[in-house]
Assembly symmetry: C2
Homo-oligomer: 300 residues x 2
Amino acid sequence: MALISNEDTLKSWNDGPVKQSILEFLKSSTQEGPDYVKPADRIATFDNDGTLWVEQPVPVQLNFLFRVFANTAQNDPSLASKQPYKAILERDMTFFQKAVEQDPEAIMALEGAFAREWSGKTPDEYEAEVKEFFATVKQEKFAANFTDLVYKPMLELFDLLKSYEYRVFVCSGGSREFMRVISEETWGIFKENVIGFSFQVEYHDGVLTRGDTVLGGVAIGPGKVEHIFARTGRLPVFAVGNGDVDIEMLESARFRLLVHHDDDEREYAYENGVEKLRAIAKEKKYAIASMKNDWKQIFR
Amino acid sequence: MALISNEDTLKSWNDGPVKQSILEFLKSSTQEGPDYVKPADRIATFDNDGTLWVEQPVPVQLNFLFRVFANTAQNDPSLASKQPYKAILERDMTFFQKAVEQDPEAIMALEGAFAREWSGKTPDEYEAEVKEFFATVKQEKFAANFTDLVYKPMLELFDLLKSYEYRVFVCSGGSREFMRVISEETWGIFKENVIGFSFQVEYHDGVLTRGDTVLGGVAIGPGKVEHIFARTGRLPVFAVGNGDVDIEMLESARFRLLVHHDDDEREYAYENGVEKLRAIAKEKKYAIASMKNDWKQIFR
């Protein structure tokens, strides 16, 4: 049941056409009429980096991986000439740009490094490493914990969607297990609603460990839709993203919301990696949330 | 919040130690105290065949596969000498027994037949085939639709678990996509809470099709726990099964309920494929639901 107070949920959003279009879509898709969506179909999917939290100067998970892999390469100098270690040690971002652009060789090198690092480790061991990272590393510009740099307007949107009986999923190109460490406390989203890059799990003699086989490919571009469908049996009705790797997910949804990073003062302003999506969003009249103009408050 | 009327939910269960132990566990695990389970951890997992519906004389999905694969072999006689077609045409159940016992060669042959049959088809095409099967094929002994042979006591248990804020998942060795066709209407369980054997999904130019790569192995034995953890990020707290392939899932849970098929009149009585589980259940004092004695009504 939609609550009477729904309209007040988006407190950090300025009144304007974007907030209005969200409210109107949620009403029309949950009331009898031509736009009605039955409850079972009410799936909302959100990208993570740049959509739910700050992704500059490097995405949070890359920051984590850089530290872990640099440490590994220091302990095993034979790795220094191999990717992704070479790129990390030389601070060469072109390798990671290739991975984002779905270059098979770059992705395979990254997958190999993941496997080398965590294959055979238990979920608890991995979780402890991720928690240590969150407890000790701060975001540069804001000198704050990454989990404090989650966007308040998005958390309000989660609440609003839930009040209309939408089921909210987060789908990221990053590691599912990494996000699951913080998803419940930070987003109020159960681990099972977090979708992303993941490895085979192995269970022997009552012990779970991570294997070295990637499950279902990388969740970027068409891979986002593939992961979402595998997980939910559906395409999203409502989708939110901010980068070119979100295009297919957004195109597969009925309501498309783009987070536009245009606030260099309160967050960042950039167009890199979002050019194609911006062109499509303008042409197809997506809802485009300007951080600068549509959000009263950025961080939770 | 637990509702006052919880105790009345298990209407098709006779009063007795099994019903009592379920009610007591759900109370103690949701009230402050030594057995408390916080809401995020409240995961309940159910096997499907023999736990939620009749699995005799052959599991429903095997019935479906036999028909589809027999038809395929008739259209392509070169397949008649290959597995699983050979076993189906010769009505030789030993091949399928091997698959249940996780024989790698049998599983690979079955996976190949799945890929040959549905690789490149859309989810809608597959769903139409499954719906046609359910609309036309009846269970032999009861001359009834398979979906009418779902156990009413289990549907009541779903409701009871949900009232205690448990999240209910179904995890089967059978195909996830097959179960998802009927999960919402028959069980009241959203597709996304159905876990099982599944294939890579591919998304090209706005069209989803099934690929030919199995994702995460077969969900039997340790594979059940692997699929459950991959899907939820947790082990179950409450688990229900009926066969040897459920042992690892049950052992990974705190409350274990076994469905014992001992009612040849109203359903079936059999011990085949459940001997190991029965021994463990007795030794470790699982809750054992006797269909004959604990269930007032079998079917919904």
